[in-house]
């Protein structure tokens, strides 16, 4: 993989972004004409997008444009909100996740989620990471469980900091550590896809940078979809960027292209800061 362009510079580190033609990557999530309604109000209007494996796809757009709502349709988290309606198709693997007889619980194992504000359970660090493993029956013995917890914490770059205090309360960790704990917790159930809803918005720059490095490393093993209101973050971290506006998907393309020469004028106005 020649880093034929070191795409974007962050003030703290330079993160190389691969320039492999996107068409080579298999499609992980195939969304066709997805519309989403809160009662009668249309929040998402005929969204079609293909999210490819082992890449970071970023959703950007002004607040209220529907990017978080769309993210939540990918693991059917919106189901818990009463009075909502979905039309269209979201295909993961070979099945439409909104089809009949779809096991939502299994879906949520396959498509994990990290939330904007870290939400560790009021349990110990160990029990937080082990929670998903336990309820999904992924470990049959205590040692398997411990191994799974360690693996997840390492993957989330948190192991070294907590390995000696696994049974302390998770609430005692700092904000950035709690968010990495939530990432570890999500990774522990061995998903294919990781949905991240503004994962670093509540964190300071140093913690944010660590999350971004983590995302970069994780994409080797997972497909990552990231919602962010921070365009610079999208530019730093993602391979593909999708721009949402007022419930519609305006444009999707490789990140550098989106930020340097987008097709749509609306996109250009947004990324150059003419509105936001």
């Amino acid at each position: 993989m020649e880093p034929d362009a070191v795409a974007v510079q962050s003030p703290l580190r330079v993160i190389p972004v691969e320039r492999q033609p996107l068409g080579d990557r298999p499609v992980k999530i195939d969304v066709a004409a997805l519309s989403f309604y809160y009662g009668n109000q249309c929040a998402l209007d005929h969204i079609s997008i293909q999210i490819r494996s082992n890449l970071v796809t970023a959703f950007i757009g002004p607040s209220g444009c529907g990017k978080s709502t769309f993210l939540r349709t990918l693991n059917r988290m919106n189901d818990i909100i009463p009075g909502t309606r979905v039309e269209g198709r979201v295909r993961i693997g070979d099945r439409d996740i909104y089809g009949q007889d779809v096991d939502v619980v299994a879906l949520r194992r396959q498509v994990g989620m990290v939330f904007q504000k870290s939400n560790p359970f009021p349990k110990s660090i160990f029990d937080n990471v082990a929670y998903g493993v336990r309820i999904n029956g992924l470990a049959r013995t205590q040692s398997q469980l411990r191994a799974a917890v360690e693996k997840s914490l390492r993957a989330a770059a948190l192991w070294e900091e907590v390995k000696d205090r696994l049974h302390d309360s998770a609430l005692a960790l700092s904000g950035g550590q709690q968010q990495r704990l939530c990432i570890a917790r999500a990774l522990a159930v061995e998903p294919d896809v990781l949905l991240m809803d503004e994962p670093a918005s509540a964190l300071d720059p140093i913690a944010t940078q660590r999350i971004e490095e983590l995302i970069y490393r994780l994409k080797a093993d997972y497909t990552i979809v990231l919602v962010t209101h921070n365009m610079q973050q999208a530019a730093r971290v993602s391979d593909v960027t999708a721009f949402f506006w007022l419930g519609r998907l305006i444009e999707t393309d490789r990140t550098e292209k989106m930020f340097t020469s987008p097709r749509e004028k609306l996109t250009e106005d947004y990324v150059t800061g003419r509105f936001g």
Partner: protein, 282 residues
């Protein structure tokens, strides 16, 4: 005096009046506690806790059977009330907007406001009349019925306080709703729920009216569910309205025990609530 000065004076008078209200309310509290402690402490001895009541007119004796009776009544009452109360509370919290939740809420608040004597009549009708006999079980049903709405409302309130992101976090990991509720949300609210149950127990331990014609009273020591049973409150009542000095003293002692239980539970609950608040504030 000019208008501003008059307004300010009125304001000051008002503040004074409110302060006076506080003092007026505290005076009876102080008086009650004073008398209960001073009168009760003299009759409070080991004998009180370990002896049975002596025949009418004879001095000495204690309230051992009554104390045990109260413990049994509130214990078994809790066995009835806690599952119904907590699970109703879960429904009200989880399906908060639904019509059934509204109906349950209304029923809980109504049941809370029903005079305890009326509950006594109700349980008399369903648990005493059919068997033609007063019983411990009837008393437990009466007390349990009174506990249910308290526990239900407390559980609902506390479950609603748990942040929604906690449920979402659990669901996103592949938990079913039931799992999310019972393995994440309830444990988070558990300290408060336990406190609520303890407070409910303390409150019904002091109830007399519903026991008057359900558990009735029993001069002897009994733990049988199908027989009447003595209780601290009914015993205090019986002694208080009797003409015997010695029984009056014992009534004060019984009152002291009741007030101490109440005080302990109130203090414990305050302590627990503060710890809970500190935990959630993080």
């Amino acid at each position: 005096m000019n208008r501003t000065a008059r307004r300010k004076l009125l304001s000051a008078v008002f503040v004074g009046a409110c302060t006076a209200c506080v003092l007026v309310a505290l005076i009876p509290l102080a008086l009650i506690l004073f008398f209960v402690v001073s009168q009760g402490i003299s009759a409070l001895n080991i004998e009180f806790f370990t002896h049975m009541p002596t025949p009418v007119g004879e001095p000495g004796g204690g309230m051992a059977n009554a104390i045990v009776g109260t413990l049994i009544l509130i214990g078994l009452g809790a066995v009835i009330a806690v599952p119904v109360g907590i699970l109703s509370g879960v429904y009200m919290a989880e399906y908060s907007g639904s019509r059934l939740a509204g109906a349950i809420r209304f029923a809980a608040d109504t049941l809370n406001g029903v005079p305890s004597i009326v509950i006594g009549i109700f349980v008399y009708g369903i648990a005493v009349l059919p068997f033609q006999q007063f019983s411990t079980l009837a008393g437990c049903v009466a007390l349990g019925t009174m506990m249910i709405p308290i526990i239900a409302r407390t559980t609902e309130e506390l479950l609603l306080l748990v942040p929604a992101t906690m449920r979402e976090g659990a669901l996103a990991l592949g938990a079913t709703r039931a799992r999310a509720v019972f393995t994440v949300i309830m444990p988070a609210a558990l300290p408060g729920i336990v406190t609520g149950v303890v407070l409910a127990l303390a409150r019904i331990a002091g109830e007399t009216a519903p026991l008057l014609f359900t558990a009735f009273n029993n001069r002897f020591f009994s733990t049988r569910l199908d027989q009447p049973i003595a209780s601290l409150t009914v015993q205090v009542y019986t002694y208080a309205i009797s003409p015997y000095e010695d029984w009056h003293r014992q009534a004060w002692a019984g009152a002291l025990v009741l007030v101490t239980i109440v005080l302990l539970c109130s203090v414990l609950s305050r302590f627990a609530t503060r710890r809970l608040e500190r935990m959630h504030a993080r």
